[in-house]
């Protein structure tokens, strides 16, 4: 098993865990964390699968960097909304 494949398989496991978390958990904060887990899984697959013959491919790295920016922005928005709800006394977890 190459390191790349190992990364990819770990990524798939993380993605599955995160997906289950977003769907099954009820608390908003945990669901936001679970979404981040999904994202990290996808990034690992992206970087891991693209490593062929030990040569590093720059394109997926650029994609992952972009993806991380998107994930940070989304998480910030989700947290801001969750906080707003909590302040209004609608906190569910």
């Amino acid at each position: 098993m190459t390191p790349g494949l190992l990364y990819a398989l770990t990524g798939i496991a993380l993605f599955a865990l995160g997906l289950a978390g977003v769907i099954l958990l009820r608390q908003t904060l945990r669901r936001i964390l679970a979404f981040n887990l999904m994202g990290s899984g996808a990034f690992l697959v992206l970087v891991g699968l693209a490593q062929r013959g030990g040569v590093v491919d720059p394109v997926p790295q650029a994609m992952v960097l972009t993806g991380i920016v998107v994930a940070v922005a989304s998480t910030a928005l989700a947290l801001a909304l969750a906080r707003r709800l909590a302040e209004d006394g609608h906190e569910d977890g």
Partner: protein
Amino acid sequence: MADTFLDPLPWLIILPLAWASLAFLVGEGRGGRLAVAGLAVQLALALILAVQVMAQGARVHAVGGWGASLGIDLLADGLSVAMLLLTQAVALPLAVYARAYFSEVAQTTFWPLAGFLLAALNALFLSADLFNLYVTLELLSLAAVGLVAMSGKPAQVDAALRYLLVSLTASGAYLMGVALIYGAYGTVSLAGLAPLVGADPPLITQLAAGLMLAGLLAKTALFPFHFWLPAAHGGAPAPVSALLSALVVKATFYMVLRLALGPFAALADDAAPLLGALGAAAILWGSWRALTTHHIKMLVAWSTVAQLGYLFLLFPLLEPGGAALRAGVMQAFAHGLAKAAMFAAAGVLMLSTGRDTLEGLAGVAGRVPVTLFAFALAGVTLMGLPPSGGFLAKWLLIEAALEQGQWGWVVVVIGGGLLAAAYVFKVLRQAFLLAPASAHFHRVPRAMEWSAFLLAAASVLIGLRATEGVALLGVEFGP
């Protein structure tokens, strides 16, 4: 150099970003005039682009001179230009409407968010690769969620958070699909993938396509993923609901269509019966809920769930050069314009009566006749009566179904039209009742009434400009 600078392609993305940022700088609640001016230029640019593409064929623009794979390519072909035209044509009257609406109702960040939303939409329709589609889709969702939460009311923030979590999960699934595709083929370019995937794709491609499709369907709010839509669309301020229902859900439909026509053509046949069945279920369930709700904007939002179903009926009937693709795009146009008109009209009715229930509508016929006429015209399009765009879309669908001997879809199309008639007439009937003595009506700015009317009239008249549309759609990107 001058040619690159004057190319309308990048300007369709830069302009909304520019006026959105300026609107943010000039402060809360301002920037509407700027937005209307910017949108007028954008509509002109989209028209210029349509003429150019019809004359010279599809073309690619490398952003900043950096081509793929590390740079970003923008691609304009018939389908993407058609969607660009729809976006600007819906957004311009809505901006006029929103200026008047937000002079009545306090708002904070509508213009910046609307600008970012439109920039993301335009960029999405011009994307030439799977990853750029992902990024633009996320930008679109973030702006849309911001718009839903804008009013700050707990119910709206709750709906926005729910929408955001569905949206993030869905795009996570899509991103995983993109990662698997890149791992398998080493490219995410739509044009580059099509020959690589071939006629008999391996399991990893099927898995990737399945993940991407599931994510996109959840974002399109196709039955049974529609659960987040009525709360998010029905509760938001009227101009926001109109933008979301008319345009935002079309973006993910466009992506499904793009993928089914391009890289995943071989798999599209397998998914088609399922997509058609879900579309049929959406039409029946959405129409039924629209018929049984008591809130006017919820009625319009459930009607969106139903009308989205029609878009997915095209997949079982999709064949190269067939009527189904034209039907789908015509339905996207007709529903986009009609639903924007309907939400705009619903906003006027609610401002006028000060209530959001159907019962409260009694007597509005005499107070805001132009708006009620706009609502009825938009209803004509949703029902599919001639000569509206909705009629043409349903006619083309029926034609395609009959050609291929798939009778079942004909029943769904006609049944959905009858249900639409039922819920539209429910509103009209109530509006023509006599107002109770206690009723109190507010004055509504005329710009709101007439912009709703303009959108509704466009949704009916679009059926008469179908020839140009067909010619535009015929422009495909070829190597």
